[in-house]
């Protein structure tokens, strides 16, 4: 179970989603990818992408305007 963490603070759409897609493509089933972001639109489009792909995800409010999205590859 590998875990990868991406620091996407300060990055705006579509960079965090594209980066997450790039990393998850190289991961195995069951691995998790965490994306830390301060852009709320990023959280929305990652949620949509996870729903489309059937990935499980969790969102943690880390601070005012900072979220940690954890995605589990199926």
């Amino acid at each position: 179970m590998a875990e990868i963490k991406l620091d996407m603070l300060g990055e705006v759409c579509p960079v965090p989603l594209l980066t997450a897609q790039k990393f998850i493509g190289e991961m195995k089933s069951g691995d998790t990818l965490s994306v830390e972001t301060d852009y709320n639109r990023t959280v929305r489009n990652i949620i949509k992408w996870c729903d489309d792909m059937g990935y499980d995800f969790n969102i943690e409010d880390k601070d005012d305007g900072v979220w940690l999205v954890t995605i589990e590859k199926k």
Binding site: L6, M8, L9, G10, E11, P14, V15, L18, T19, K22, D38, N40, V43, R44, I47, D56, F57, N58, I59, E60, D63, D64, G65, V66, W67
Partner: protein, 178 residues
């Protein structure tokens, strides 16, 4: 996975849908157009640029540059002009929305590369908007709203530019990781 659903509820259901924002902007812009003139953003920013140029010893009033309103080259007059007040209002409104949503924070610059990309992007957008005599508000939205062909032409090239920009972004991500 419960937190994720709570976030969806808060963002998608509790946030205003796009159409509500669109209708509100349409009404406010109509009021502005009826009682004053249609909304624009970059004309005022260019006025500030020209005023700075003038203060530094330049003579922007002699330049050949198409302009649709009287040049204001005096800082005091410019500060209380319609464009500056509207632009400051936009900035304060956005800050208020971020504070109300408890999402306000001062973002740190992460790297010299991020700073350079940001400055380059801002310069290209600003220069392009003034060559086109308007941004997507004054050029696209109000161009189309006033039944002018230029709004549609503007929109077509805006889509082409956004497509090219996305391709460039994809290339950067695939090359560098972010």
């Amino acid at each position: 996975m419960k937190n994720g659903r709570t976030f969806i509820k808060r963002v998608v259901l509790d946030y205003w849908p796009y159409w509500v924002g669109g209708v509100l902007l349409g009404i406010l812009n109509t009021l502005l157009a009826c009682f004053d003139k249609p909304w624009g953003i970059t004309g005022n920013i260019a006025q500030w640029g020209l005023a700075v140029c003038r203060a530094a010893g330049g003579q922007p009033e002699t330049w050949f540059y198409v302009w649709d309103e009287p040049l204001k080259l005096n800082f005091a007059e410019l500060l209380f002009s319609r464009g500056t007040v509207i632009n400051l209002g936009v900035i304060m409104g956005v800050m208020l929305a971020a504070v109300l949503a408890a999402e306000f924070r001062v973002k740190k610059v992460k790297s010299a590369r991020q700073l350079a990309l940001g400055i380059a992007g801002g310069l290209l957008m600003g220069y392009g908007a003034r060559l086109a005599l308007g941004c997507n508000i004054g050029g696209l939205v109000n161009g189309i709203a006033s039944q002018s062909l230029h709004g549609w032409v503007f929109g077509l090239f805006l889509i082409l530019g956004a497509w090219a920009g996305s391709m460039f972004m994809k290339y950067l991500v695939s090359k560098n990781g972010n």
